[in-house]
Structure formats: C-alpha cells, structure tokens
Subunit: 246 residues, 2 copies
DNA sequence: AAGAGTTTGTGAACGAGAGAACAAAATCGA
DNA sequence: TCGATTTTGTTCTCTCGTTCACAAACTCTT
C-alpha cells in the first residue's frame, strides 16, 4: 500500500500527517538510540549525538525529526524523554497492539519467544499452527491454537496486525484468511509473494534474500581485486547463451 | 554520473558491472519467481508473467534485467532456465559461500535449522555461542563451538560472510572479532548499530522495527477514519512539550 | 515474403531521498 | 544588554529509483 497525501498547503509539519516512508523506517531506530542515551543518564542530546547513536548522518536525523514537528531547542538539542514520547506517539506505540503469529516452525518459535515485541507495546495473543499434533504445545507462554480458531480469535481481540511464519506454499491461503477475518497489516516471513487487497499493508522479511545481497557484494569485492582485463566475460556470456537456448 | 554508453558493440550492459542497489535487492526475488515458473513447467516467460510472479511492475523488471545484459528475446520473452542461470551467476550463487552464525538463542537456532540457506549455496560451517554450558549442543546438525574457536574457524574456511544473532550488547564485540578475523560481510539480527570499517558490508534485520513500521501505518488508517478535524493535536503537543520540559 | 501481432530494451519525465549549507533561534558570559 | 556560540529547522541541489511510452526486434500466419 502507498499513501500519497498531496500536501494540502498547510505547512505545519505536525499537522501534515504524511511522513516520508524512509523517515518512518528510521523512527524506531531513533527510539532505540534515545533509550540507550536515557539509560546512559543523558537528559538532553544534540542531533549530532543522537545521530551517532543511531548510526545516521545528523542532517538526515534533523530532517526526519522536523517531519514530526519542531521538538528541539536551538542551541540546546532535544530533550531525550520528551522526544522519546513524541516518537513513540507518532509511531503508535503509546497504545498496545495485539498480534497473532501463524506458523510455529523454527522461526515462529523464535518469534513467539522474542522479548523485543512485548517490550515495545506488541503483545502476542495467540499462535497458530496447521499441524493438529502440535496443538497445545507451549511456546513463549502461549499454547498453539488450531487453525480453525484463527477467525474467532482475530475477531474477538480486534487483531489488525499478524505475523506469517509458515512455509512458502501455505502463506497465501493464511494471508487470505487473515485478511478476511479483519487483519490489515501483515509481517511476512514466508518465502512467497503475497497478494492482498490494497488497504492491507504487507512487509516482507526474507532471510535468504539478505544473504544473497551480501553475496553479490562479496563477489564484487573478490572480482575487483583479481580481475584486471575486461572482456573475457563476453565470450563466456555468448557461450552460455547458446547452451541455454538449446 | 558516468552512465555514458560506450558504443563498443557487444554487450554494453554486462560490462557495466555497477548494478543499482535497488536492482540487486530484487534479483533474488526474480530468482525465486523463476524457480516457481520452472516448477510449473514453463520454459519461457514474458516480463509481464515474471513480474506477476515476483510481485513487481513489468517495466521495472525489464529495466532491472537490462542491467545484467540483453538476455531476453523481443516478441518472445525470457528463457526461464537461462535467465535463472544468469541471475544466479550475477549474484554469485554459482559458487558456494561458507557462513558462520554467532549467537544461538531462539533466533540463532531457527537460522541454523533454516533450509533456505543451504539450498541457495550458503553452507553453515559453524555456530558459536558465548555460553560455555551450551557448547556441544547440536542445532541443524552442527555442534555449538566455543567462542575462542571463532578466529581459527573463520581463517581455516576462508569465511567472508557471518551472521550475528546475539543479544544487542554483545553484537559490537562479536562484529569486531569477526572483522579482525577476516569477515567482510555481516548479516546483523541483533538490535544494535554496528560500527565497522568501510570495506565491510552490514545488513540489518530487525524484527521489532518491522512491526513498528506496520503499527505506524495501522494507526494512520485508524486515525484517518475517525478524525476529521485537524488541529487538536497541536494543543496536545504544546501541553506535552511543556510537561516534558519540566 | 510480407504484414500483423508480441514483447523487449531504453530514453525521457517524474518523484523521492540524501547531504551540504546556512539563516533563525536559543543559551551563555561579561 | 550585547555579542559570541551553539544547534536546530529548512532550503537547495544532486543523485537515485520508478514509471511511462515507444521504436526496434522478433515470431507467426497467410
């Protein structure tokens, strides 16, 4: 999904609820950096310090924060606790988000025991698996529920966010059921392209894709070191193409 | 930018080894889509079909592929097997990449048992954990090695890619040791900002950040439905700011 | 062999994001 | 109070990525 609010004239950043996607993706990072600074006893922080802790450039950080409103003080910096609250509010972490996880394989188990969710305002209210033999097994303090409980649970808790951690082939059907039951945001760990209605947000996390991207760069590093004479790839390509087309 | 077309005949694009980052990130997706099409018995596929299977727009797919070279046939489409091989070669999947995983908590266990790595040319050669009591425990067919084996193992296998799945506070030290031992690409699952030398690539996967991004959009959906009058947030903000600054 | 029909590869327009640079706003010291 | 200093918020420019639209290149049918 994409929301492109045409800027309706009003320049007040806080009123302008359309925050750039790239900025939204960094807000949680800032939140974590602020938490670290707060733990270290800092009550105030400059954009330079915060940017350092978050691993970004300070100009970018300032621009990101300016989209939320004018929450800093020139000559001083940002009040750590106050900014923390503002970002949390902007992201929606001041409320609690009930979540379900579908698919309790290795990854699903890891997710259901992962403390990082609960501590940030997400509470896992149920976990599901298609294997009837595993129903009742406990993971992260929750029993595995049977798949036929999916719709009633989603409805009862008003779930809008779900995590899919099933094998690839099962993912689409699960997504369909989740959407039909009322879910409108899905975090997908399954290696599959999900097709969902426009109003539904899907974010995909793919472990093997990340490794492949690293492999590409790694290969380039290796190649750029050893390869001085260009052109031998050309014949290689032609040969391969002929073979491939046979 | 130096995007000059060297009119030196044969394969201009293939010689141009600089593939845009955004394209690199999609190549693995195309690879998976091609595998699915091949399994379905298709020997040839149009950009439209392939784009459908990969969940992207066909113009984007064509431009992405054009960066690798001119591997399609006008009026026909792309030879599935041939394109598969070319992409795999470009990413570097025609060779085998040995990988180590550090940190065998819930997530590390899931990663070490995950089949998607091995099937794509990544072989996990060792797993490490800081807890001495767990050394020897088997996960995914490998025993947990003690941390002091990290450097020798990395050296012996010529490891260049490593996965960090430790708790946040331990991540930086692990990264330092990996880099010192010769690793130049890191996939980081720990909730921490890693600082590494320039030549080292780091990719970060953060589960709770993904959920937070979904929460933001979810909150916006909810808000845009109920809220018609803007401006009340402003006073809210002012009040909060005063409180926060006390 | 020629025309009709497909489908790629790419030029051009557009939009989003990153970074540099600086004016505006606040503090601090005398 | 005034000037020096710090640091934000914003403007401008540049780069990168996406999308459109179409000529070129290929196949197929007659």
């Amino acid at each position: 999904m994409t929301q492109m609010r045409p800027p309706t004239g009003s320049r007040a950043a806080a009123a302008d609820r359309g925050i750039p996607e790239a900025t939204v993706a960094r807000l949680p990072v800032y939140l974590r950096a602020l938490a670290a600074l707060a733990d270290a006893g800092m009550r105030t922080a400059s954009s330079e310090q915060l940017a350092g802790a978050a691993g970004v450039n300070s100009a970018k950080l300032r621009k990101d924060l300016s989209h939320l409103g004018s929450y800093g003080t020139r000559g001083v910096g940002y009040d750590v606790e106050y900014l923390r609250y503002q970002i949390a509010r902007e992201i929606g972490l001041t409320q609690d988000w009930p979540v379900v996880i579908v698919g309790i394989g290795n990854l699903g188990q890891a997710l259901s025991s992962y403390g990082g969710f609960r501590s940030r305002g997400f509470s896992i209210v149920a976990i599901f698996d298609a294997d009837p033999d595993r129903v009742g097994e406990e993971h992260g303090g929750l029993p595995i529920s049977p798949m036929d409980q999916l719709e009633p649970v989603v409805a009862e808790h008003g779930i809008s966010i779900a995590v899919i951690a099933t094998p690839g082939p099962a993912a689409q059907e699960v997504a369909d059921r989740l959407v039909a039951a009322g879910v409108s945001s899905i975090l997908n760990f399954a290696p599959a392209v999900l097709s969902v209605p426009e109003r539904v947000d899907v974010r995909k996390v793919d472990l093997s894709i990340e490794l492949q991207i690293l492999a590409y760069h790694e290969q380039r590093k290796a190649l750029s070191g050893e390869e001085a004479v260009p052109g031998h790839d050309a014949t290689d390509d032609v040969a391969a193409k002929v073979v491939g087309q046979l």
